[in-house]
Every structure is written in C-alpha cells, then in structure tokens.
Amino acid sequence: MMEYGYYPGCSLTGSAKRLDQGVRQLCKKLGHSLTEIPDWNCCGALEYGDRNELVSISGENLEKARGMCKEIVVPCPACYKNLKDADPDRSFNILSPLELLSTGNLSQIEQKRDLKGQVFFPYYGCLLMRPEENSIKNRNIMEDVISVFGGDVDGEKMKDRCCGGNQLFLNKWATEKLSTLILGKTKGTVVVFCPFCHMAMQTFAVGRKVIYLTDLLLYVMGENKSL
C-alpha cells in the first residue's frame, strides 16, 4: 500500500488512453493510490534540440509536484526518461509502473486465468533500458510476469532493439523496416509498455496481437475478457 504522485503524460490522455486506464486499474488492484500532479505539462518528448529547454519543460512538472509527493509514477518511457533527466540529484523517485511489480507481489495477485500454451514477446524498446543511468531497475520484469502466470517467452535478443517509432511520421519506411526486423525475429503476442512501440508494432505487425503489459495483467486477474 503506497501513495504515489502520478504523471500520465500527453499520449496517455489520447492515443494511449488504454495504458492510462490499465495503470490506474492495476494500481488499484495492488492497493496503491495515484494522485495526478496538478496542472502537469508536456515533458517535451524527443522534440527539442536544446537540452536546457527540454529539462526546463520537464522540470516544471517536478516543481509542481514538490511538497506533494516524492515518488512519482510515470508510465510513458519518454516522459520517464525526461523527468529523470530533469532530476539529476534524484530528489524524487521517478518510477515506471513496471518498477512497482516484483515476483513477490505478483504472487499476491488474485489469479483468475493463466497464460498456459500461449507465446509472448515482451518488448521493452529503448527508453526504459537506455541511457543506462535512467533505466528501470528490474529489466526482466515482463518476462517474469509472463512466466509466473504460465506463458512462454520469446525474443530475448530483440527485447531492447529500436522499433523506429519516433520516425513514424517523418520517414515511415524506416519505422517499417526496423519494426519488421524485430517482428520477423520473434513470435507470439507482442507485449509492450511504450505508446511509441505500441503504435509502430500495431502498424506493421501482420497477424500478431500487440498489447500492453497492463492488458495482460488485467486479463489474468479476470478483468479484461480476452487478450
């Protein structure tokens, strides 16, 4: 049981609403409360060439959170990286929802379904893994989640390769080539945690499902009807 500050980020209010709802539902199940940082603003994503400008835009959110919370849950990997970059002294604990999961607390989850006989490709992409000083601490957590509930894991070598998501609206052939490369070397349902990865994989996957890890967990808990 913990109380966290919550920074959804722009895409989670729009195209990645599903991830937002999933994270909120999951935290409720785990007994955590999330309080949105009042008037949070965009983190700047990867759109600024000036690092100072980017850090200032992201850092504003930390100013808005000051005095309210020390621990902030940040689902979008781009926001997660930017907020960490804006806090070099680590005066806040910026957490991906993935870091709220551990094999320990997974066993406490009330399991209504299992994943037996199903293959999954847990795909982290870039910004949860790099740069290293910003990386999530539990770099195998998606594999652990899938295995704990009986699913099979594929694609270890491709899990942190780049889908080219941020080129999707600039040079879509590049995104297509990079995503297809990853898809071609893996099998099973693609499990992601990043809105960029979700969109790139969803756009170029043929006959493969693309889901957020939250979808998978809620399915196991009996919430979502199907995967």
Binding site: C10, S11, T13, G14, S15, A16, K17, R18, D39, W40, N41, C42, G44, A45, L46, E47, Y48, G49, D50, R51, N52, E53, S56, I57, E60, E63, K64, C126, L127, M129, R130, P131, E132, R161, C162, G164, G165, N166, Q167, F169, L170, N171, K172, A174, K177, L178, L181, M199, Q202, T203
Partner: protein
C-alpha cells in the same frame, strides 16, 4: 552548417568541444547504431569528429535524418556520449523541423500539452500525401474524443524561443 551552428550545438547539448576529444575512434557506436539496420552505413563518431574539428555537417547526412534516439550508441560508448542529443541539436541548428514537430511544439505553446487532434489537423495533408490513410483501420483503437485542457505554466511557454544564442554569454 557554419561556425555559429557549431556553437549552438555545444550550447544546446551542454557538451564542450574538448569533451569529444576523449572519443577513441573505437567505433563501437557505429557497430550498434540502429541507422545501420537501415543499411545506410553511418558512423556516429564521424559526426562528433566533425564538430570537434569544426567541419560542416550537411542536412542530408543519414544520421541527421534517420537517428531514432534509441541511445544504443550511448549505452555502448565507453564515455556514454549522448550522441542522439547531439544529433537533435544539429537538426535544430539547421532548422530542420518537420511540420509534425512544429505542430507538436505549437500545441505545447497553446495548451501546455500535446493535443493530438490538433497535431493531426495540422499535419493532415502530409498524412494524406504520405500514404498513412491505409493504416487508419489499425489505428481505430487510438481514436477517442477529448477536449484540449489548458494547463497553468510556471514559466512562459516560449521563453527560450526568442533567445538568441549569440547574445548570451558563453564561457
């Protein structure tokens, strides 16, 4: 890209010219670079060397155009040099913003957040011409109606826009 553009890159990234002198030319960055998966044959180290010696960087340099900000180079580099941030600064110094990036920043200026319907509207023509319409059936799950929400900013949103790097003191 002239001398002043180089200065902008250093200012934007926080790196100094001498920071790149540590680059060993080991080319580990090149061996992991995602742009090479596009068979474009790039070497990020060469870009750093150009900045170090003050050589011109062209707009159509494949790394400048296609770097995905994957940070694979950074993770592999013995000095953890944040090459994608250098690339983004180069792009900005060359004024290479796409309409998509402009719409993104404009939205941030107006509302303090990215309002996706606005970005789509501003780039509709590009989406149409670029052949994105065929993906619409796959993107249905991303659609949903919501109104923009304007947030309070602590600093004026385009504070840094008007600043001219050459007018500010440089150490």
């Amino acid at each position: 890209m002239n001398k002043r553009d180089h200065e902008i890159v250093f200012k934007h990234t926080g790196y100094r010219r001498e920071d790149f002198s540590v680059c060993l030319g080991c080319k580990i960055c090149a061996s992991v670079c995602t742009v090479n998966d596009l068979t474009l044959n790039v070497n990020p180290q060469e870009l750093l060397m150009k900045l170090f010696v003050g050589e011109k960087i062209e707009e159509d340099h494949p790394l400048v155009r296609y770097c995905t900000s994957c940070y694979r180079c950074t993770a592999a580099c013995p000095w953890q040099i944040r090459i994608p941030e250098v690339v983004r600064a180069v792009k900005e110094s060359l004024g290479m913003e796409s309409r998509f990036e402009k719409a993104f920043k404009r939205s941030l200026d107006i509302w303090g957040r990215v309002y996706e319907p606005f970005v789509v509207a501003m780039t509709a023509l590009d989406l149409l011409k670029g052949g994105y319409i065929k993906y619409m059936p796959k993107w249905m799950g991303y659609a949903g109606f919501h109104l923009p929400h304007k947030v309070k900013r602590l600093k004026p949103s385009n504070a840094s826009k008007g600043s001219n790097p050459s007018e500010e003191g440089r150490s």
